[in-house]
Symmetry: C2
DNA sequence: AGTGAAAAACAATGGCG
DNA sequence: CGCCATTGTTTTTCACT
């Protein structure tokens, strides 16, 4: 399942994560390859799972999603069962964009996107805090987003 | 530039952010519309900027990017010029996936993806801290990522 | 606002150098 | 890996409701 990537592959991946709407011929122009070779390499990269999926990136504000927040969650009683329930819950919540366990004094960091502060308050007070495992929640609201492209750095 | 979205549009956007590789005919099956209507609506949504771009989502680990970190940055001397330089710098850094100004005691939160801890250390010590505006940096490393799909919640 | 069919563009494959 | 030709799909446009 693993694969050796050469310079063409890396360039192709970089181009595709920037703009997956390019045709194989256009991609070929950018990276210096023929369209048919681009097609073959793409298939390999998709099969190998290096390209996970293709996605449309949407404008949150145009969809009324005005609030992005980072929510740090500290768990209290570290029972396996409660922790498991908490993890299942955040994974299933559509407002949770990202969820990671972190080093440091906060157990989990959630990135949450919602229409307004009322919706954020609802999530914190009515969904997160009632969980048995949750001891403490601390939210910070993004006032300004300088960058949010989530483009991986490819050399 | 603004547009009225009906139920078809919302379903179409939801389907496209999940999987932009679907053909218009497949999308039509999912949302209950003919391929030609899907094509017309897509064009509208693209022109209106609601669909910002199409992207390939890549597997970070397959590309050797093993470390995700959240770095909170506190600025010291709040001179406009130093803050501007800081903002330009983080915006230009490819390792910075996201950068937001936050409410609370941390001025900026950066999501950073790098190959290893050495690269993270380099960014913090040799790029961030030498900036005049930067007073304090605190990094937390993601030990486990439960969710990282960045799919917007569409009702 | 929608369908269905035609025309144009594109992707994917195979053969050859 | 480039180039070319072929085939099948897909997108887009058009006529019509």
């Amino acid at each position: 399942m693993t694969i050796a990537l050469d310079g063409f592959d890396v360039k192709l991946l970089a181009a595709l994560q920037n703009n997956a709407a390019l045709t194989n011929a256009e991609l070929g122009d950018v990276i210096g390859l023929s369209a048919s070779q681009v097609s073959r390499r793409r298939q390999k990269l998709e099969e190998a799972g290096i390209i996970r999926r293709y996605r449309a990136a949407l404008d949150p504000e145009a969809l009324g999603l005005m609030v992005t927040a980072y929510v740090g969650v500290t768990l209290g009683a570290h029972s396996r069962e409660n922790a498991r329930k908490f993890r299942n819950m955040v994974t299933a919540m559509p407002e949770v964009q990202e969820a990671h366990t972190l080093t440091g004094d906060v157990d989990y960091m959630l990135k949450i996107v919602v229409p307004d502060l009322k919706a954020l308050s609802h999530i914190i007070n009515d969904e997160l805090l009632p969980q048995e495992a949750v001891h403490h929640v601390r939210s910070s609201i993004a006032m300004e987003t300088l960058k949010d492209d989530n483009l991986l750095p490819l050399k």
